[in-house]
Amino acid sequence: MFQAFNTFLIGITAGSIYALMAISIVLVWRSTRVVNFAQAGMALLSTYVGYEVIQQFDSYWLALPLAMISGALVAALIELVFMRLLLKHSSQGAIASIAPIIATLGLLGVIKAFIGFIWGNQDVNIESPLSNVGFSIGSQTLALSPMKLFILIAVSVLLISLTFVFQKTNLGLALRASAHAPEISRLSGIRVDFVRTFGWALAGAAGGAAGMLQTANGNGALAPDSLEFSLLLAFGFIAAVIGGLDSLLGAVVGALLLGLVLAFVLTYVGGSLVFIAAFLLLVGILIVRPAGIISQRAGRRA
């Protein structure tokens, strides 16, 4: 029973980080209809910026927001100078929908090479700012450490802020309207190009937060070829797709579900089956609900 509860805690913590990654993939998809494989590279770059801040100022708490800001800036820049040009010039023909995706794969390589060029290809380390030793109840140790508690709180705060922006502000209305109906949005006076860039920036910030939290949650090692970030991308993608790819709520639900399933498989079945479990979950949900857990298409369409 206690082991099950601990597994639950591990799953929720991992899932909450996947949720940030899934959200950043969904935000980019909604803004520009591009599946962004470079998201992991962008998150990695932001985390390296965070590492640099820690080197200079010795503060994870300063590094976290700066990593998010740098993530936002890099993402906005990529959308502005790279994706916009690409989408403008490859709007027709057979490869129109594939070209941007391939381009993001290339971008992933470019970013990794850039990181190696600046920081070298050796591992660097971000030390966890809080203890990774779990709280204890009597003689037993919970799988909830101060660091994990902080991750849960930080992700909750970010998600609540994001929900507020999306549901209660004009900017959020512009983001939602532009995602679903760009032409009507333009006719309503929304500068859709700007809104798209902003969507990318939000995605970059979420990715930066995911990278910083994931690194502090794990062993703290950071390298251009980080396996941890590849996994983050893969699991973020699976969560986003399970959730319907168009829905922020879906991304969060999908990520938490994925985190829990993986944690339980890891504890009760075995580490070697983790990927198969993720794959089975993806296929299973797509068979039962082809449009994802949270489907946007409801109601009548006359």
Partner: protein, 236 residues
Amino acid sequence: MSLNVNNLTVHHGAIRAVDQVSLAVPTGKLAAIIGSNGAGKTTLLRTLSGLNKPTSGTMNWMGESIAGVKPENLVRRGISHVSEGKSVVPELTVRENLLLGAIWRKNSKEAKQSLDEVTTIFPRLGERIEQRSDTLSGGERQMLAIGRAIMAKPKLLLLDEPSLGLAPLVIEQIFQSIRDLTHTMRLTVLLVEQNAMGALKIADLGIVLNLGKVVAVDNAQALINDPAVRAAYLGY
């Protein structure tokens, strides 16, 4: 003349969809553009609202050129376009769709006031204000599309086939509200319609378009009585 179009030509790829069109609509008047499928009505409207680019010719609104101006900037100059096919965002609620129309004004108090005005004009929208707009009927969606355009406080309203796919009784209601809005909000309206009779009945001015060219311009009542127009477009 508040809207002046001169020798406007617009291409759709190789096809000349609008061919040397000239027209003028005085302030506060409702002009109906009628014509069959493929006459260039929708292209003309989309060019006026900046969605399509003209090949040649001039377009002036209140004495200033609007050629090459982006749609998001034309809204700020008082031009609102309700595009073809119940142009609402299905994923948003009725309230959100309406607020979308006022989003560029950045003044939430004024937006609230306009929201009250629109729900007074279309009480059905008020009753369904929190519903997602894809749960509305076709007529309600058309009301919502017009309501969204009104929320932008337009001076020129461009309407593309508001009667499309609606029941006769509903069409009559929609046309009546368009007529009323023109008067109460002192709008200049350009109404594109395949339902020629309904449109001409509420219009001050009628313009007949065929294969991209203007083939007749007159006051609406005169067009209804014109034997050639009757035979070709009114069906009797």
